[in-house]
C-alpha cells in the first residue's frame, strides 16, 4: 500500500487515539469493570486459592468479554451522529480499510489495557504464573475477534435507539466459541494436556472474523446511512 493510500487510515487512527486520550474514561471503563469483577469474586465465593485458581481463567475471560461489550457503544455512533461517518463513502475511500482501522483503534483503546493489566488480575485470583503467558496469548488472539464481532453488531444496531440489549444478544452466541477455546486452552495447560489445538482453533476464528466481518460491517453501516 503506497503512502497516499495509507494516509487517510493513519489520520483516522491518530484522531481516534487523540480523542480517546481526551476522554480518559474510554480506556478506564473496561479496566474498572475487570478489576471490580476480580476483586468481588473472592468476596462472593470465599478466598480459597484452590477454588479461585480453578475459575481464574474463566472469570478473567468473562470479565474481559463483558468489559469489551461495555465499550462498544460509541464505536460508530458519534461518527454517525455528527456526519463524519457518511464522509467515508464520499469519493473513492476504501471503506473496508477504514472499518478495520476503526476496529483496530477501538481494540488498542479498550482491549489492550485489559490485556496489559491481566497479570495483576491473575495474581489476585492465584492463577499459576506458568499459565499466565498462555492466558494472555488467548486474550491477544481472542479480544480482536470480540472487537470485530462487536463492531458488526454495533454497526447493525446503529439506527436503533436502545441498541444496547440487542447488541448483547447479537454478540454472545458468536463469541461463545472464543470463550470456550480460550479458557479450554488454559484449563488443558493446567491439567498438563496439549494446548495447540485450542490455539489453532482460536487463530482460525480470528482469520475467519478478520476476512468476513469488515465486509459485513461496511455493508451494515451503509444500510444505516441510507
Amino acid at each position: 500500500m503506497n503512502r497516499s493510500k495509507a494516509q487517510p487510515l493513519i489520520a483516522l487512527l491518530l484522531s481516534d487515539l487523540k480523542r480517546a486520550r481526551r476522554h480518559g474514561g474510554q480506556s478506564l471503563l473496561p479496566l474498572v469493570f475487570l478489576f471490580s469483577v476480580v476483586a468481588m469474586i473472592p468476596l462472593g465465593i470465599g478466598p480459597g486459592p484452590n477454588l479461585l485458581q480453578a475459575i481464574a481463567p474463566g472469570m478473567i475471560w468473562v470479565a474481559a468479554l463483558l468489559s469489551g461489550l461495555l465499550a462498544l457503544d460509541g464505536l460508530f455512533k458519534s461518527d454517525f451522529d455528527d456526519g463524519t461517518l457518511e464522509q467515508w463513502w464520499v469519493g473513492d475511500q476504501p471503506v473496508i480499510r477504514l472499518v478495520l482501522v476503526r476496529l483496530g483503534s477501538h481494540w488498542l483503546i479498550t482491549a489492550l489495557p485489559v490485556i496489559v493489566l491481566t497479570p495483576v488480575a491473575a495474581q489476585m485470583l492465584y492463577l499459576p504464573n506458568a499459565a499466565l503467558g498462555l492466558l494472555m496469548l488467548t486474550l491477544l488472539i481472542g479480544t480482536p475477534i470480540l472487537s470485530l464481532v462487536g463492531g458488526l453488531a454495533s454497526a447493525l444496531t446503529l439506527g436503533t435507539r436502545q441498541g444496547g440489549a440487542l447488541l448483547g444478544l447479537l454478540i454472545f452466541p458468536l463469541i461463545v466459541p472464543v470463550l470456550i477455546f480460550s479458557t479450554g486452552a488454559v484449563s488443558a495447560f493446567l491439567d498438563g494436556l496439549p494446548v495447540r489445538p485450542y490455539l489453532l482453533l482460536l487463530v482460525a476464528l480470528l482469520v475467519l472474523a478478520l476476512s468476513l466481518v469488515p465486509l459485513a460491517t461496511a455493508a451494515a453501516l451503509r444500510l444505516n446511512i441510507e
Binding site: Q7, S15, K18, D82, G83, Q87, V90, I225
Partner: protein
C-alpha cells in the same frame, strides 16, 4: 471538455419508492447548479446520491472528478479543536494534484475562525461550526463541491464569504451543486437550475 459529473435518469428508492423523479444532469467545469424544490422533494437525497453516500437505485451516474460533500450534519468532530479538525480533514481526503490546498491555519483565518484555533468544535456556535465545515473545502480541495444548504445559520458576512468561495472555485475550473432554500448564491455568473420533484407518490 468532459463533464465532471454525469447523471442519466438517476433516482434513489427508499422502501422501493422513488424519493425524487429521475434526474438528468451534466456538470461541466466552471459551472454551478442550484437545486431547488419544495420541502421533502428529495434535494438532500439527490445530493447524497451524487456524492456517493447513497447508491443510485436506477440510472447511470459517472463521476470523473474529486468530490467534496458537506451535508446537513457538519462532519466536524466536537471533541477536536478547530485546527485538529482541519488537520484531520486535510489528511483524510486524498490529495488532488491539480488543486492547491491552504494550510489549516490559513483556512481558519479565511473562515473567520482565527481567534478560535484551539477551541473545541463542540464549543462553537452553529454558524461557526458551519464555517469550520466549509473550511474543509480549502484544506482538502476537490473539483466538485456538493453543498447542502451551505448558508444555513450563517450571518450576512459569512454568506458573502461562501459566495466568494464559490466564485473563486468556479474561476479555478471547479464546479458546484448547491441546494438552497432561502438564500441563493449571489454570483455574477449563470446559475444553472435543477428542479427536484418528489417521487412516485406525488406523480
Amino acid at each position: 471538455m468532459k463533464p465532471y459529473l454525469t447523471a442519466n435518469q438517476v433516482s434513489f428508492h427508499r422502501h422501493s419508492e422513488a424519493v425524487f423523479q429521475p434526474i438528468d444532469l451534466e456538470l461541466y467545469p466552471a459551472t454551478i447548479c442550484v437545486v431547488t424544490g419544495a420541502n421533502g422533494s428529495g434535494k438532500t437525497t439527490l445530493l447524497r446520491t451524487l456524492a456517493g453516500v447513497l447508491r443510485a437505485s436506477e440510472g447511470e451516474l459517472t463521476r470523473d472528478a474529486s468530490i467534496a460533500f458537506i451535508g446537513h450534519r457538519a462532519g466536524v468532530k466536537d471533541d477536536l479543536s478547530c485546527i485538529e479538525n482541519l488537520v484531520f480533514m486535510q489528511r483524510f481526503y486524498p490529495k488532488q494534484a491539480n488543486r492547491h490546498p491552504l494550510t489549516p491555519h490559513q483556512a481558519l483565518k479565511q473562515a473567520g475562525l482565527g481567534p478560535y484555533i484551539r477551541r473545541l468544535a463542540g464549543h462553537l456556535s452553529a454558524g461557526q461550526r458551519r464555517r469550520l465545515a466549509l473550511a474543509k473545502l480549502l484544506v482538502a480541495p476537490a473539483d466538485v463541491w456538493l453543498l447542502d444548504e451551505p448558508y444555513t445559520s450563517l450571518d450576512t458576512h459569512a454568506c458573502q464569504w461562501v459566495d466568494e468561495l464559490l466564485d473563486g472555485h468556479l474561476s479555478d475550473q471547479g464546479a458546484a451543486i448547491v441546494t438552497a432554500h432561502q438564500r441563493q448564491p449571489s454570483l455574477a455568473r449563470t446559475l444553472h437550475r435543477l428542479e427536484v420533484v418528489a417521487g412516485a407518490r406525488a406523480a
